[in-house]
Symmetry: C2
Subunit: 398 residues, 2 copies
Amino acid sequence: MIKIYLDQAAATLPLPEVVEEMIPYLREKFGNPSSLHEVGQVARKAVEEARARVAGLIKADPEEIFFTSGGTESNNFALKSMAFAHQDKGKHIVTSVIEHHSIIHSAKALEKLGFEVTYLPVDKFGFVDPRAVKGALREGETILVSIMHANNEVGTIEPIAEIGRVIKEYNENLASKSGRRIYFHTDAVSTVGTIPVDVKELGVDLLSLAACQFYGPKGAGALFVKKGVRIIPFLHGGIQEGGRRAGTENVAGIVGLGKAAEIVSREMGSWNERITGLRDRLINGLQEKIDHLYLNGHPTKRLPGNVNVCVEFIEGESMLLYLGMEGIAVASGSSCTSHALKASHVLVALGVDPALAQGSLLFSLGKDNSEEDIDCVLEEMPPIVNRLRQMSPLYKKP
Amino acid sequence: MIKIYLDQAAATLPLPEVVEEMIPYLREKFGNPSSLHEVGQVARKAVEEARARVAGLIKADPEEIFFTSGGTESNNFALKSMAFAHQDKGKHIVTSVIEHHSIIHSAKALEKLGFEVTYLPVDKFGFVDPRAVKGALREGETILVSIMHANNEVGTIEPIAEIGRVIKEYNENLASKSGRRIYFHTDAVSTVGTIPVDVKELGVDLLSLAACQFYGPKGAGALFVKKGVRIIPFLHGGIQEGGRRAGTENVAGIVGLGKAAEIVSREMGSWNERITGLRDRLINGLQEKIDHLYLNGHPTKRLPGNVNVCVEFIEGESMLLYLGMEGIAVASGSSCTSHALKASHVLVALGVDPALAQGSLLFSLGKDNSEEDIDCVLEEMPPIVNRLRQMSPLYKKP
C-alpha cells in the first residue's frame, strides 16, 4: 500500500475542486459544444471559460489557446503541423537531444518524410546553449525551433527567453532581407502550472501544456499558437477550435484543465516555496546518507519538485520495487518509457555513463508532500541501497 | 429550457453507471498506467479491463484495441498512419463522398502529400455500391479502402460486409500474384454501441469507434487494428498502447468507454426495438402532417434512431431555433460542421437540391426518448413550419 507518493511527474492527484467542477459535464451538462441549442451552448460556455483560464495562466489571449488530448498531441500538433504548413519555405527543424519522445519521435517521423532535423547537444547539466541554437539556424531552410522549457526527467530549466531573443534577432535580420521568419515552439508540459510561464517573456510562437501535470485530469491539454502564426490542423475533420483542431471536445476534461489553471495561477507561489524546500532537503539528505550517489541536472536551476539521482552499482528498477514495498512510489525516469528498459536518452545526453544511468531514480514532489515523506525516504532508502549493493557483482565491498 | 432532447448523434447523456465508474479514476485512483508502482498498476488494470470490454462489444481481441481521444483521432490515425505505413506499396486510397469530415479532410491532406484518392459516389439513399469499390481498386496502387459503416447524417447503413468480401476476393487474387494486399477500414463511430458490430463478419482490418456515441464520455475512442496489420503511430512519443499510440492514457475516459461498451452490449437489443418504433412513428407522423417534407436516406436500412428530413421552402436553422424555444433540441446536420452554414456534403451527394438541403433537420433518438417526446414534436413542428413558410418568399401560399 503506497503511503508516500513521489511520482508527481507521472500523474498528479486532481484537486477536489477540479473534479467537482468536471462532474456536471459528465452528467446533466453533457451537450456537444457545437450544438446550436441550449444543451450545446451550456457546454460551449464552459469550454470558453476554460479557454480564458488557461490563457490567463500563461498570459496569452483566449483565442490563442487550442485544446488537445494532452501534451503528446500538443507536441505532435506543433511539430508536424508547423512543418507541413511551412514546408514551402524550408524543411529544416532545430530541436535538442533531450526533448520528450513526443518531440523526438515526431521529428524522426518528419525526417522520413524529407525534413532535416538538427538535434542540439546539451552540457552536463542539460542546458541547451542559445549560441548553439543561433549557429544551427540556416537561412532559407530553417522553419522551426523546438526546445523544451524544462526537462521532465532531470528538471533542468532551459534558457527559453534567451533562445527566444536569439530567434527574434535572427528574424529581424531575416525579415529585412526576405520577409521570412523562423518559428519557436517550447514543450512546456513540465513547467506550465508548476512555475510561472509567460509566453511573451519567453518569446515563443507555440507552447504545449497538459493538465495532468498540475492537478488536472489526464486527457486534456492545449497548444498555444500566437495570433498570426499560420498552422494547419493535425487532427483533420470538423470545424471545432476555429478549424484548427477537429473532434468533439472533451468538455469535462477541458473544464478540469481550466479549473486547475485557475487554482494553480493563484497557489503556485506558496506551494513552490514549500516544495523547493522539500526538494533540497531530499537532495542534501540523499547525498549525505548514500555514497556513490550523483544528482542529475543543475543543482538550483531545476523544477521545484524534481530530484533525479543515479545510484552507482545498482539498478533503478530494483530500488523502485523495494521502495514500493515500503509504501513509497517513485519512478526510474519518464513514465512514457518506463517499460522500455533502456538507459534514459536524457541521462546519456548529459554524459552520464550508460551503466550508471541504469541506476537512476526520479523523485517528483508536489504540493501534497510533507517533510515526513522526505524523512521517511531518507530513512528507508539507505538500507535498501546497501542490501542491493551487497547483491551486486559490480560493488566492491568496503 | 430543453425538455425533449433529440440530438443524440451530437452527444449522448452518459449512463449513471458509466460516470460512477469513472469518478474514482479522477480521484484516489489517479495513477499513470505506465508507472511501475502500485498507484500506476491500479490504473493499468482498469485500462486493460476497459480494453477487454471494448473488444467484446465488437467481437475483437483485446490486443486489437488501441485507445484514442475519440472518433476523429481514430479516423485520422487509420487513414494517415496506414497511408504512411504502406506508401512503399502504393499511394492510392478509395473512400466515399459521404464520409465524415475526419475522413474526407484527412484524405485531402494526404492528397497534398502526393497520395491519390478516389471518392466513390453514392445512390439516392446514400449507398456505396460494392461493385464500384471493386472497380476503383488498382493493382499495385491501392493500399486502403475506407467506407463508413453508417452515415452519421442520413443514417444509411452501408453494405460493409459485402464490400469486405469484395476486398477479400481481390486480395486472394492479388496475393497469389504478388503477395500484396489492400486494407479495409470502416468508420463505425455511428454504429458501434448502436447496432451490433462484429469485425469478423464485416471483414474489416481497421474500425473506428467513439464512446460519446453510446452513452459514454467525450474524449474517449478506439481504433481496432486486426492482428498482423502493420500500422505506424499517428501520435508519436512514448510507448503506450503497445507503441502504437503515444500519450498518457485518459484513464477515466477509457474506463467510461469500457463501462459503456459493457452495458450497451447487453441492453442494445431491447433499446433498439423501442427506438426503431419511435423513429418510424416520427417519420410517419412528419410525412403525414407536413407537406413538401422529404425523408433523407433509406426508409428502413438506417440507424435505429436516425430521422433526417428536408422541409421545403424554409431553413433548417430557423426550425431548429423555433423548436428550441419550444424546448426541443434537434440539429440541422452534423454537429461537427454546425457552424459552417453550408449545405451538407452528404445531402448534396445524395442528389438533394442544394436549396432543399438548406431545410434539413436531423432528429436523433436514443434510449431516453419516449413516445410522448415524439408526439410533442409532431404537435409542435407543423405550426412552426407553417409560420416559417408564411415568412418565406419562396413559398407559394396554397
